[in-house]
Amino acid sequence: VRFEAASDQAMLVYLGEEIGAATHERVVRLLRLLQREPIKWLRNIQPAYCSLLITFDAAAVDHAEVQAKLSEYESRADKMPAGKARLVEIPVCYGGEFGPDLEVVAAQHGLHAEKVVELHIARTYHAYFLGFAPGFAYLGDLAEEIATPRLETPRKEVPAGSVGIAGRQTAVYPFASPGGWRLIGRTPLEIFHKDRGPMGLIAIGDQVRFRPITRAEFLAARQA
């Protein structure tokens, strides 16, 4: 475990230096312990692939005290159950107006569009963390054969429900927002809803699968 001051009120805790299941499990276990035994001065936890960003009340504690307390938590975290992963299925209409980058991604890898879709739905993805926007889950790992860098210039507006890929990650945009991921399809599901419990369809640690649907099914689901 490595500690790094991120700001005068935040500390980064690194539990590994490479993206992968083992490191992420340590992230989730420490998160679960911090949630089960809350610390008074802790104001926010932002988990990611290999790290947790801990924001604290700087009037109450300094970085040394934060590090000491978190070290103690970390030493006990391996006894925490990581929790049972839910399986979330996301229906997606691939290509066409909903996936404007599908053909480009296919061409870049010398594949047919159908093959890109096939590779995208073949895997069960791990939800590493939520970031960027409310409910935006970073899902991995995408098949190497279709890993594609982000757009050079991000789009000013990506429609809500868009399914994108970036490097070896994939995600669903919960809201219309700017975005640089390659868009290969769209889901009719509402990914984040404030009047629903839980608000986000995908939570950290979940398993996620994509299921292809037709344009007619997409439109019917939107009507419902």
Binding site: A6, N44, P47, A48, L53, P134
Partner: protein
């Protein structure tokens, strides 16, 4: 129900309070007032809770009608507020008679002016806060910036408000300077010597493409020494991240909660309110301080803001 009627909204007017910290696990950033110091003092002058929801106006204010009257306080930047052609001073309570309108114009100094109302603006809370989160369309008034015709419920006036003024010197101490103190970011060592000199010695201009999610800062290009692909991680408010093209971006209250660009520095907590008052085309400079010094400045500011005796006469 007492109302505030929006006759014109101004450039970007939203409902804000102290924000909703603590929902990083859901990917939700805190949002909240860009200048929390101004919001706090405006509310305290009205004897509201320090974080009562208020209107945050950006660069240009609107026109607001109070059909049932209200007591208000303007805090932050001077937008030349008037009622019936008479100037409303900043930083003091004003009784607005029923049917009168408060007219605000373009800023004369800084970026944001807060219109606080005795009893607060009454909107439904989302995750424990009234703050508007524009990207997700959540919180505040219908999750969006105000528009002409909006009618917002406001609180009742429950007591007589004491006629208090800020003590001389308080505003001077909290003045939003164009100098930001920073601590080293977690990837400080990734940057070249020259990049570090640019950050601390150089000048940066706030780009027009700046908003509550972040401020783009134009200056000399800061290069990294290492060509390591960074693994995305949590980003604190005030983080100064540098894109591969050398663009510096200061992440602000409605920031994305994680990011994959190296962070060279981080604005200190005690200076975040200064960030909220920066305007496009402002020239700013950075000054490095130690974590211990940043903490002292934060505690000093919190003590001042928490002491009615030191704030008000």
């Amino acid at each position: 129900m007492r109302l505030l009627v929006v006759e014109s909204a101004g450039l970007l007017t939203t409902v804000q309070d102290f924000g909703r910290e603590g929902f990083g696990v859901l990917g939700v950033s805190a949002s909240g007032a860009a200048d929390a110091v101004a919001l706090r003092i405006g509310n305290l002058l009205l004897e509201n809770a320090a974080g009562a929801p208020a209107l945050e106006m950006t660069l240009t204010g609107g026109t607001f009608l109070f059909p049932d009257g209200a007591v208000i306080c303007l805090a932050g930047a001077n937008f030349g507020a008037q009622v019936d052609g008479k100037t409303l001073e900043l930083w003091r309570p004003h009784a607005i008679l029923p049917g009168r309108r408060v007219v605000l114009g373009a800023t004369r100094d800084f970026a944001r002016c807060y219109l606080c109302v005795a009893g607060g603006i009454r909107v439904a809370e989302f995750l424990g806060s009234a703050s508007t989160h524009l990207l997700s369309g959540l919180g505040g008034w219908e999750g969006r910036a105000l528009r002409k015709g909006d009618m917002l419920p406001i609180g009742r006036l429950e007591k007589n408000i004491r006629r208090r003024k800020l003590r001389p010197g308080v505003l001077e101490m909290l003045k939003p300077e164009k100098r930001l103190r920073v601590t080293r970011g977690p990837q400080f060592d990734w940057f070249s010597e020259e990049a570090r000199r640019i950050l601390i010695g150089g000048e940066f201009v706030v780009s027009e493409e700046s908003n509550r999610t972040g401020l783009r800062l134009d200056g000399s290009r800061m290069a990294t020494r290492v060509n390591t692909e960074m693994i995305s991680e949590g980003t604190p408010v005030g983080a100064i991240q540098v894109t591969p093209s050398g663009q510096a971006i200061l992440l602000f209250v409605e920031q994305q909660t994680t990011g994959g660009y190296p962070k060279i520095a981080n604005a200190i907590g005690a200076d975040l309110h200064r960030v909220g008052q920066l305007r496009p085309r402002d020239t700013i400079r950075f000054e490095e301080v130690s974590l211990a010094a940043a903490r002292e400045l934060w505690i000093e500011q919190q003590v001042l803001l928490g002491s009615e005796e030191r704030l008000f006469a």
